[in-house]
């Protein structure tokens, strides 16, 4: 039933991220939707444009000690510490369920070294049921003294090349917003062969408990997400979309249909919903519905007609 609906010719919500075809532009962001199954009772997963799973590393990671999250004004900080089951268990335990979903599954990967990124890519490349890889480059490069791959253009390019060289899966590189020049990062990664770009990951932030004089996160600093960061995300998506020729996926503070439209108008070919999944698990589905209504109301031939239509005087 639902699948039929999704293939209804009208409203036409299909978008392409390079070779990756989505039935609609609404995906769920890594780390905010678990391995999708967590949401199966509350969301009709088959209606989504795509699912990006929690970041996977080569070996399992326990993550940071608690507290890992703290609410801020219109946002939240997280320092999960990339807790995950590791690629082997991921393939064994999570993929079978994900394969049963009728939507593209994108696997978010991370590593401390280029070799790790490469190794995990190899292990995922032959697995059936993976539509694409999303490369999280916001991790510190342990070999380079902990400077994040995501803040130095040539390091980001190196990770991208390494991943591309060992896989034929479409590669989406996820950019960190904690940089002086997001366009430079984007261009560097594009030149290195990325098939698409997703942005933004979280801004780095912090909060202090004035009663105890301790950081509110055990890890001291964490990633800021939610509506608070939407203006920064939208600006970066707009700047990048104007300069690259590969598709851009918008992420950051998307909370409702209008937010999603803002990103499409700014030039994103698709969007990812993150923190909002916690607040309203049904939000991604609601946004799909909302965009559908909008496309009908505006009598657009397809949602693709919206992409990059910002009018600047």
């Amino acid at each position: 039933m639902e699948i039929l609906k999704a293939h209804d010719p009208y409203p036409d919500l299909r978008v392409n991220i390079g070779s990756l075809q989505l039935q609609n532009p609404v995906m769920t962001a890594s780390g905010t939707f678990g391995y999708a199954r967590e949401f199966e009772n509350l969301v009709n997963l088959h209606r989504l444009g795509g699912v990006i799973v929690k970041g996977i590393s080569l070996l399992p990671r326990a993550g940071n000690p608690p507290p890992r999250i703290v609410e801020t004004s219109s946002g939240m900080l997280n320092a999960i510490g990339l807790q995950n089951v590791g690629v082997t268990r991921f393939i064994k335990e999570k993929i079978p369920y994900l394969r049963g979903l009728n939507v593209p599954v994108v696997v978010n990967i991370l590593g401390d070294t280029i070799e790790e990124y490469q190794e995990i890519t190899k292990q995922l490349s032959d697995v059936e049921g993976i539509a694409a890889l999303e490369v999280n480059i916001s991790c510190p490069n342990v070999k380079k003294g902990g400077v994040a791959f995501g803040t130095v253009p040539h390091m980001a390019a190196a990770v991208t090349e390494a991943v591309k060289s060992v896989s034929s899966l479409p590669v989406m590189v996820k950019l960190s917003p904690n940089v002086s020049d997001i366009v430079e990062m984007a261009l560097s990664v594009e030149r290195a062969g990325a098939d698409s770009l997703s942005l933004i990951n979280t801004l780095i932030g912090m909060a202090i408990d004035v009663k105890t004089k301790k950081p509110k996160l055990a890890n001291v600093i964490g990633g800021l997400s939610g509506p608070a960061i939407k203006p920064v995300a939208l600006r970066m998506v707009y700047q990048v979309a104007q300069r690259v020729s590969i598709p851009v996926i918008g992420i950051g503070g998307i909370d409702n249909m209008e937010d999603a439209l803002e990103f499409l108008i700014a030039g994103a070919s698709a969007i990812q919903v993150g923190t909002a999944n916690f607040i309203n698990p049904r939000i991604s589905e609601d946004i799909v519905d909302g965009i559908g209504e909008y496309v009908k109301d505006q009598q657009l031939g397809s949602v693709r007609e919206l992409i990059g239509t910002l009018e600047v005087d």
Binding site: E38, R68, E71
Partner: protein, 262 residues
């Protein structure tokens, strides 16, 4: 076990004391699935302040399709709920987490401190419905002062279990910590303890149970973003060296499965 997201109408609003409130919500899908010790996530405000949902234990879930939450006004989210009106609609999802395991063959001791009393009413009801020997069952309710305990006692009486109350300041029931009773002969040997309350109290409960050889389940708290295992934000150290997640592995744990500070 399945979860539901419902637009739940507030059918009863009760202020039980200056800071403590109880909401009865029409929420048939959640009520039908709920188990004692589980919780729900409630959207407290309309806009983005506060941004995240707030977790609340199920104080009651009724076959007539209603659920109850019993809460204290401690901050922005609970303040909004404390000003809610009958007839208003709240966005709620649940039931979430693992509740109390009912150990039918042992005498039960339900021990709640402060707001930790919340899940025990639902638990008492569930235990009362079982076909088991309840003669040595005991309910221990504690709090800082009378308003934290007294308004709830009547509701517990219906189950016919013995109830002992204690307040730190002696304004209601016995003076002192409710855990003192646990450490006395009032609690039958071989009792299984079901506790909920502040961390320090639960630690004492764990210690006493260990000493006396009681089985012990505790319901713990943690900050939560999603309540359903997706954000991984609610971890606590487990005694096996890994992290447990309060929202899916708990909130109820065997007390021995957790790491206690001291």
């Amino acid at each position: 076990m399945s979860q539901h997201q419902e637009k739940a109408r507030i059918i009863r609003f009760e202020q039980l004391s200056e800071d403590n409130f109880r909401l009865t919500l029409q929420s048939p899908q959640i009520a039908a699935q709920a188990f004692p010790g589980q919780f729900v996530m409630i959207l407290t405000g309309k806009g983005n302040d506060p941004l995240l949902r707030r977790p609340f234990s199920l104080h009651q879930a009724s076959t007539n399709g209603s659920i109850q939450v019993y809460f204290k006004n401690v901050g922005r989210g609970t303040d909004i709920l404390a000003h809610a009106k009958e007839g208003e609609i709240l966005d709620v999802f649940g039931p979430l987490g693992r509740g109390y395991r009912l150990v039918d063959e042992k005498p039960a001791c339900l021990l709640g401190g402060g707001l930790g009393i919340a899940p025990l009413l639902f638990l008492a009801k569930a235990l009362a419905k079982r076909n088991r020997d309840a003669t040595s069952d005991l309910i221990l309710l504690g709090g800082r002062s009378k308003p934290e305990v007294e308004p709830l006692v009547d509701d517990f009486k219906q189950f016919g279990m013995k109830i002992i109350c204690a307040t730190d300041d002696g304004t209601y029931g016995e003076e002192g910590f409710v855990t003192e009773s646990l450490d006395s002969e009032r609690v039958a040997p071989g009792t299984h303890v079901y506790a909920c309350g502040p961390e320090a109290m639960l630690e004492t409960v764990h210690d006493i149970c260990l000493q006396r050889g009681f089985g012990c389940q505790v319901s713990v708290e943690s900050v939560m973003a999603c309540g359903m295992g997706a954000c991984l934000g609610c971890n606590i150290p487990a005694s096996d060296g890994t992290y447990a997640h309060v929202c899916i592995d708990g909130p109820v744990f065997d007390s021995g499965a957790l790491v206690w500070k001291s």
